[in-house]
Amino acid sequence: MVDAATGTMGVGTRAAARRRPGLFQRKSTIAFLMALPLILIIALLVLYPALYSMHLATLNKSMERFVGLGNFEFLFKRETFWMVVQQSCIFAITAVLFKALIGLFVAHFVHAIPNKGQRKWRGMLLVPWVIPPAMSTLAWFWLFDPSYSAFNWLFALVGIDPVPWLGDAYWARFSVILVNVWYGAPFFMIMYLAALKSVPEQLYEAASIDGANWWQRLWYVTLPMMRNIILITVLFSTIVTFANFDIVRVLTAGGPIDQTHVFATWAFKLGIEGGDIPLGASVSLFMLPILGLGAIFILRDINKRGNEA
């Protein structure tokens, strides 16, 4: 406030002006500037390729003409495309379900081990997850090898007929799901273990006093307390499993007769090997809106629960 007679500012106004920081002193500006390198990296490595693939998906086969949603229209008429959709769903849902169940089961076991010996168990159980999947899948490929399967060799020792692990459609699907579960279950295990450790012991004590048995403690205490972690892990794993490439590519390359293809491997087959990049881009983008919607609903639920807390 300016005093008309003296031309000086009021004491209160001067103090307020002193308190207001400049643009580069504001916390939000500093936070933005510190996050800027990450924002730029994401824009360059994630946003640009994503937008470019959307652009590619709107072009014709020779990439000379804009066809709008023509590639999707074409895909929806293909029998193989719907087979790939079905297989991707079977693959992702089954694999995520088993990973979550095995992860939860093993996490409980590890949680029950005394702290002293727990570290080495955690380390050993994480091994499948820390090996690059292309490498570990190659080892699995040798175990399933059409001519030299190590499993079949063991079966032969006990008089069991050889199993066509990768030559029969059902066995091949089983094999790719098995390897995905083997690779991904440790991630669930470690996340659930962390969640289990954060459940306050007093809740279990209170439940015990109320006479809750093991199952009731799990159902009414553990699972509700782990709910957010379970949702985030399942969401994350579903997205990653739907987008899986290396396991299927190394193990079966989509065969036999296309019956283990998932979106990424079929997109690669069409786009890179078959020279139809726009169609390949369309296949890889097909799941984007579905997974995006799923992510929005799950994350919204998590926010709601966070607010309730």
Binding site: P146, S147, P164, G167, K269, G274
Partner: protein
Amino acid sequence: MNRTRVSRRGVLKGAAAVSVVGLSAPFVRGAHAAGKLAVGFWDHWVPGANSALTKLCEEWAAKEKVDLTIDYITSQGNKNLLTIAAESQARSGHDILAFPTWQPADQAKNLEPVDDIMTELIKQNGAVNGTVEYLGRSGGKWVAVPATAGSQIKGPCSRMDLLKQHAGIDIQAMYAAGGPPKADAWTMDAFLTAAQKCHKAGVPFGVGLGQTSDSVDSAGAFFQSFGATLIDAKGNITVKSDATRQALDFYKRLIAVLPADVSAWDDASNNKWIVSGRGSMIMNPPSAWAVAKRDAPQIAEQLWTHGMPSGPNGRYAPFLPYFWGIWGFSRNKTAAKSLLMHISQPSAAEKMVIASGGYDLPAFEKLTTFKTWAEVGPPKGTLYHYPNPHNHQTLSIAAAPAPPKIAAQIYTQATMTKMAVRHAQGEAMEKTLAWAESELEGFSRS
């Protein structure tokens, strides 16, 4: 403020002085006066084959004063296809790249025409076969030069002892080294009967039915031997024909006597099959024999590479040529063409054939009789018939004669092997044909 004034007279004096200095200076030709050239060749399976090509290129670079960079790009995991796709999108990268079979047609618009090189090479080395022309020419122009390195025929490679013992066939006498084949009796029926007998003896033929190139190439040659084409040269779908039905029927009977999991075979499976001693025949270039020579010499001594059986439409062998192409965006096309001429000379081709132990195959008709193929062994002469020296069979590629862009889809999607497996697994003939027709309609889109 002082300002220096530039007069017309002053400028002329300066220019004259610079010219005098320039003309009177000694002429210096730099080590890389002809500019830079970046080349991406296919990374050869055979140890030592890359170094022969490097040596040829370095000789040329030293003579032509070119700053040459060579990269060897593997086809493992389709790294070479990814490189081609990336460079074509970015319009930047190497000047010359090795292009696998279908890529010249696919990238035709981005490649520098090489009619001048091909006219000269054909005059010098003889004609190329129809498959090379089908794949290397686009829009009436040559868009790539057939490469010696990587080109191969995937004919049968048989165990002489097992065929003689179980099927009563003396394949070495039929395809004797040094002379034309005496293979009139080597027909599809004879092949099938031999496969059945060897299966019964516990040493089945190993013909892949997976989705990789060895399996697709074999299927292509068998289909063509029956006259079965999925799409004709004009782009019409012709899959529903009696010839295709015959080919599928043949495959159904053949699959019954092949190993149970051939539908999961990749390009390494057939090699392992023959090297293990469990099989009596595979369809492969001499790499399997070369591996056997190193790892299982007693098996290598019994391997003989020979021609395909003939079918109602003739005798077709699976041929897979590689090409060298120059990108349209290359900044040194003159040097690139000069290098391609140099490495396509007969002496250069022979050096590559020697270094690859006979695996590499020049595409020109006068270059199929190098000493290497007649002399390598054991057994001596095992590769004599590998380069088809007597034009005994038609060298073909699966999915031809469909327009190359459609054929490439048929090839990479392994439509023929899938048809064979579907039908052999019990799907009705007409249902398999209807499925194939629907797939082919999809491949034909522009």
